[in-house]
Amino acid sequence: MPDFPTIAEASRLIADKKLSPVELTQSCLDRIARYDGVLHSFLLPTPERAMADARAAEARIMAGRSRGPLDGIPIGHKDIYNTAGIRTTGHSKLLENNVPDRDSTVVRKWAEAGTVMLGKLATHEFAMGGPSFDLPWPPARNPWNPAHFTSGSSSGTGAAVTAGLALGGTGSDTGGSIRGPAALCGLAGIKPTYGLCSRAGVLPLSFTLDHTGPLAWTVEDCALLLQAMAGYDPEDPASADRPVPDFTADLDKGVKGLRIGVVRHFFETDHRVGDTVRTQIDRALDIFRDLGAEVRDIALSPLEVWHACGFLILTAESYAIHEPWLKTRFNDYGELFRDRIALGGLIRGSDYVQALRRRRSLCLELKAAMADIDILVSAVQPAEAPPIEDVPKWATMEKPSFTIPFNVTGSPALALCTGFGAGGLPVALQLVGKPFSEAMLFRAGHAYETATEWRRQRPRLATPKAA
């Protein structure tokens, strides 16, 4: 068994009976015990549950009753996903002892697909306030350098999967919380189209911007995970009632003939990225051209407008959710979450409606801009991960986000590792598709990963003694 099998590799080995789900799970649990004292990616490992899941998977597989490619694959769940009988905290003191009695829909679907649950993963408080040092648990740290930030809010998933403590995991993305950690940790992560994956049983942050989705080492793994996650759920009012395509069917089709639009002003003018990020985006575009795609620049409204629209909606909706506790237990929140969200209480109703009207005009603008384009390219993060202690309190407001525009539009968006910067930490790009075109994003992302070497580099991990 490779030290760090991908889901696809492990799945093939398990199907060929060359890898035991029990051994694979034990290997992940051993790695958690060895490395997570530095990374803090798990809030709650669940080793007994994991071994029970693994033994059940192994029995099914040996009896010829495999549930498919995820049967016996060890994963973790971001700690905003409800898990029946297992603590779900939102990484917050306010839910420190919260034990749901039902699984969220996505947790149930992954369990039905045969995944092995290793535990609950760190997040920023309620998927917004981080990195925070005043919560009951420390923030997750970047496996490439534990002194550095993972981005968030799916910070524990980013750290655990990068370090090979889990083969994949759930994230959520309201303004970039899947794509940010994927970028700074060097993973693939997809925010699917709004409505493709259920939000039922997931702690909400902003009803109209929240998305659930997976993070994994490769695009192919993301496709496998999304397959078991997507689909109509009557318990989610925003769920899209439409068939789910086969996300891996066209994975090897390449990008020949695809039309790629580059929103260059987003990352060269509106929020100027570092040299490595820009250079690696340009190199990726060269690869797409060499593989037969057509590439051209396109222009959209300034990034600041998209960011303002998303931020105001997010903050106002979050405030509405948290208002009762903000008024009665303000100091039980971490400083970052409470101060960021408290601003939402100062936004007038008419301003919220204006943001929603602007949102529709931006959705129409993107639709028109993509009329003769299949995929947009932009940045995910401006640079490599900064030191975790240096992340400003108002980071989400000071500079416009590259990711929130596609929460505003609900478009599918995939973050991909494009190499490493001078500090040895990953950099990334973002591929954005038309609604429900996830399969095309996977196709393009897989073509890029296959043409480059970045998936062959894993971090050298520190143990608590050595850290």
Binding site: A308, D339, A342, L346, D351, V353, M397
Partner: protein, 62 residues
């Protein structure tokens, strides 16, 4: 980015919201509020009167 609103007017906003802030906490939010004002300006540029919001009311609740 210094807020356009005065500190006194901001205190009224906070009071209307019902947030139990200390003076220090209110000052912290005040310092950040200029960024909110800038965002509000970016989304409230006039749209045609008939421009609908992104979310529409659907009577068939599920």
């Amino acid at each position: 980015m210094k807020p356009k609103i005065s500190e006194d007017a901001f205190a009224v906003l906070v009071e209307q919201a019902g947030l139990p802030l200390t003076d220090q906490q209110r000052r912290t939010l005040y310092e950040a509020y200029g960024m909110v004002e800038a965002m509000l300006a970016r989304v409230t540029e006039p749209l045609p009167r008939e421009a609908e919001p992104a979310l529409i009311f659907v009577p068939e609740v599920r």
